[in-house]
Symmetry: C2
Subunit: 143 residues, 2 copies
């Protein structure tokens, strides 16, 4: 099959397929005489694997690790389990962060219940005058 068909089979764009090839996630396929990429069922399976991982918000580095485990026939899958557990932990951390953020925003919003003049708006005042808290470094690849 050609690249368009492969892309449709995995619900993504041809640009994305070519990008994965450049990134080394998807192996480069053989070419036709006219230099078109030619894919088989194994490529569909691999691409679906990648897209399923992405749907779970895994980073390319995590996917690369999973693919490596999966390519090492015979070894045990404890690494896979550990990786998924860590990824769940990332998601948990991000949920906590966003819940904290939500609380901060609600509190900020409450500083200006009525539509007043910008000069006396409690929101703008707080944003201008509050001490900056040093931003914590990211713990996860989730934004």
């Amino acid at each position: 099959m050609k690249i368009g068909e492969l892309a449709r089979a995995a619900q993504c764009t041809v640009d994305t397929v070519r990008y994965y090839e450049r990134e080394g996630l998807l192996p480069a396929p053989s070419r036709t005489d006219s230099n078109y990429r030619q894919y088989g069922p194994a490529h569909v399976e691999r691409l679906r694997f990648i897209r399923n991982c992405r749907a779970l918000d895994m980073a390319h580095e995590e996917i690369r690790a999973l693919l490596q485990y999966s390519d090492q026939a015979g070894s045990d899958c404890s690494g896979v389990n550990a990786l998924v557990d860590e990824h769940i932990a990332h998601v948990d951390v991000r949920i906590r962060e966003l819940e904290q953020l939500r609380g901060d925003l609600i509190a900020l919003r409450a500083r200006c219940a009525h539509d007043s003049d910008v000069g006396s708006c409690g929101i703008l005042q707080e944003l201008s005058h509050r001490e900056t808290d040093g931003r914590p470094p990211k713990h996860t690849h989730l934004g």
Copy 2:
């Protein structure tokens, strides 16, 4: 004050300050004879405003809008309130998404309770064989 002092006052790096200037968030200051940037208290306030917004995960575009409202003395602040409300809604959406994701990941993880061979690992099987769900487009700038 020089750029390093300003950066310390707002808990960020000098690179970030220069970046905000390039982006038009922070006005370009005057320069000394030796071409050093020279800042005053108004710059500290503005930079703190920006950093406080960033601490609340607002995008530069949102911050730019807030700064514009705030620079229009005399107008009412309903735009500010609306923007904050929308931002809270973005955060809510992202929390829901991550909670859904968390559920999916827990379910996936349950497919391989025991450390087995990679060939029979339920996680890898599911990732390979599940139909790909078309990824929904992003609703927010929050990752």
